[in-house]
């Protein structure tokens, strides 16, 4: 859905996984941006109807970009900087009590 513009400053590539798939994104990206850059639109299903949702505001306001990061659920992907080796997963509905 998004691509890197031409003439962007080069950046270190960070490896991470999304639902087990190995992906890379640029150092400096937030988790939500890293997903968008990899063509991932839906990052969660709602706990109410199960509908797919994806990042909406990218500034910490809407809570639509919630994902599981390294086993911790309902984290705002747009506020968390991507780190090498992060394990990111779809937030599938309600949070599990002791983790994702």
């Amino acid at each position: 859905m998004f691509r890197l513009m031409h003439e962007a400053k080069p950046a270190e590539a960070l490896g991470f996984t999304f639902d087990g798939r190995a992906l890379t994104a640029r150092a400096g990206d937030t988790v939500a941006a890293a997903l968008l850059a990899n063509g991932i639109q839906a990052c969660r299903q709602t706990p109410v109807s199960g509908a797919d949702r994806g990042p909406y505001c990218m500034m910490g306001v809407c809570f639509e970009c919630l994902v599981v990061i390294d086993g911790v659920g309902n984290r705002q992907g747009c506020l968390v900087p991507l780190r090498e080796g992060m394990r990111i997963e779809t937030q599938a509905g309600r949070r599990h009590p002791d983790g994702g």
Partner: protein, 482 residues
């Protein structure tokens, strides 16, 4: 500038705590630190700049023209803070502000998964703006985002929408974004302008002010640049995003006729409104600004809120744009220094005078834009019953109207109790204005009379473990363990 990386590095007490590192917060923190005050600048984003100067120190965008010269002005604000002793805490959420026993304030912070309580003599909230909710059918589909979100992706990560992109709504930011994305190489298949034609009638009286405004040249340039190159469609009266599990197109109505434009990204924007959650939860009085058509914390000429010691600077206390935000931050810092006894009233007044004059200039013409780009009623209170209003709890416009009418609900707090709108993690940020609008419309009263959600801390999620680790008081233990 001392960058704080862990919660343990935050001091117990600061003269001034500034919340938000956009233009207002950066200017306030700089000015206060230059006056010799100890300052904490807490910001939940990973880097300074707020949204308007998002990623100003880290952006991968190399072609300056893509983002425009105004964006790069943000660098100077960060450069000004660097030589000071202000403590800057990125990735730090302020989830509560409450009076403490020493006559100052206690702030609840969360950084790196750990919470702390610290004290500050004065607080300046510079929490900025958010985009006004734009509830249309299908706006929850993946692929639909705010225009601001696309702009953040561009500034912070150098990302541009890769598919067919439609931009819809109204307001200066819409044209700015259209121009920026086009310059960055996006495939913009339509710009759908929802500015109601009759707004010109209301705005025309404010036109003389606009003619003398700094917005004029900028605005005309933006408009001309965008219009010249992009497929504009004006007079849009209805929008609906289509698709089953993701966006596939947008249905647009103009002049009574509808067409569907296939697209991969739909970017919505109908202006910005103050982000009021922290001020509201802190108990600051607010009113409904009828020109900007939004709830706004009530402040005086020094940006002091109704709670002595809490000032609200920048767009968080009424939309004025980046330049005015920085000036307002500066003025708020001078007044905070006066309250702390660092400046006399005369010194404050003298130092503030040139900034106040500049502020007045920077706001000239604002009223014209506010009136011209006020969203049409059908985009404030969605007519289609199935339109989701509360995205978190999936409450629809139809449910809200029915409950207001049939169950006699007069305001958003009772609506929240009955339908759960505003109870989700966003705490009403994305539904509050619409819920108020729908109730007001149903009851035939003003938004002011309808009221707004009463918010409580924590204004951003904080874990039970974080709360549990904070020091208890004897009185609190007695109140709970009985």
């Amino acid at each position: 500038m001392i960058t704080i990386e862990t919660i343990g590095q935050v001091a117990e007490h600061y003269d001034i705590a500034v919340v938000g590192a956009g233009p207002a917060g950066l200017a306030a923190a700089s000015r206060a630190a230059e006056l010799g005050l100890s300052v904490l600048l807490a910001d939940e984003n990973p880097a300074p700049g707020g949204q308007i100067y998002r990623a100003i120190t880290t952006t991968p965008v190399t072609k300056r023209a893509v983002l425009g010269e105004d964006y790069w002005k943000g660098g100077a604000l960060v450069d000004r803070l660097r030589p000071t002793n202000a403590a800057y805490a990125p990735g730090c959420t302020v989830w509560s502000v409450a009076p403490d026993e020493a006559g100052g304030f206690e702030l609840g912070l969360s950084l790196g998964g750990q919470a702390r309580l610290i004290a500050a003599g004065q607080v300046i909230l510079a929490t900025g703006a958010q985009e006004r909710p734009f509830p249309i059918p299908g706006w929850t589909l993946p692929g639909v985002m705010t225009a601001g979100a696309a702009q953040i992706a561009l500034k912070a990560s150098g990302l541009v929408p890769s598919g067919r992109t439609v931009i819809a709504g109204c307001g200066p930011l819409l044209y700015l974004l259209a121009g920026q994305l086009a310059a960055a190489g996006a495939n913009i298949v339509a710009v759908l302008d929802t500015t109601p034609r009759r707004n010109w009638l209301a705005a025309i009286a404010a036109f003389p002010g606009f003619l003398r405004s700094p917005y004029l040249a900028k605005g005309l340039k933006l408009m001309a640049a965008a219009r010249g190159r992009l497929p504009f469609k004006t007079g849009v009266t209805a929008l609906a995003a289509g698709g089953s599990d993701k966006l596939t197109g947008v249905t647009v109505t103009r002049g009574g006729a509808s067409e569907t434009i296939p697209c991969d990204a739909l970017l919505l924007h109908q202006g910005v409104i103050p982000g009021i959650n922290l001020a509201n939860a802190a108990g600051c009085a607010q009113h409904f600004d009828t020109v900007q058509h939004c709830w706004t914390p009530t402040v005086d000429d020094w940006f002091a809120s109704s709670i002595p010691g809490i000032a609200i600077a920048g767009d968080g206390a009424g939309i004025g744009g980046a330049e005015s935000a920085a000036l307002r931050g500066e003025i708020a810092a001078l007044d905070a220094a006066r309250r702390l006894g660092r400046l006399s009233e005369a010194e404050r007044n003298e130092k503030a005078a040139p900034t106040q004059a500049e502020l007045a200039r920077s706001l000239r013409g604002r009223r014209f834009l506010d009136l011209l780009y006020r969203p049409a009623p059908q985009f404030l209170a969605p007519p289609a019953d199935e339109t989701i209003v509360c995205r978190c709890e999936e409450v629809t416009a139809g449910q809200i109207r029915d409950t207001a009418r049939r169950l006699g609900v007069t305001g958003p707090n009772q609506m929240k109790a009955f339908l759960r709108c505003g109870m989700g993690p966003c705490q009403g940020r994305l539904c509050g204005p619409t819920v108020v609008e729908l109730i007001a419309q149903e009851r035939g009263v003003s938004a002011e009379e309808t009221g707004y959600y009463r918010l409580r801390p924590p204004v951003k999620p904080v874990t039970l473990a974080e709360l549990a680790a904070l020091p208890p008081t004897d009185a609190a233990i007695k109140a709970v363990v009985r």
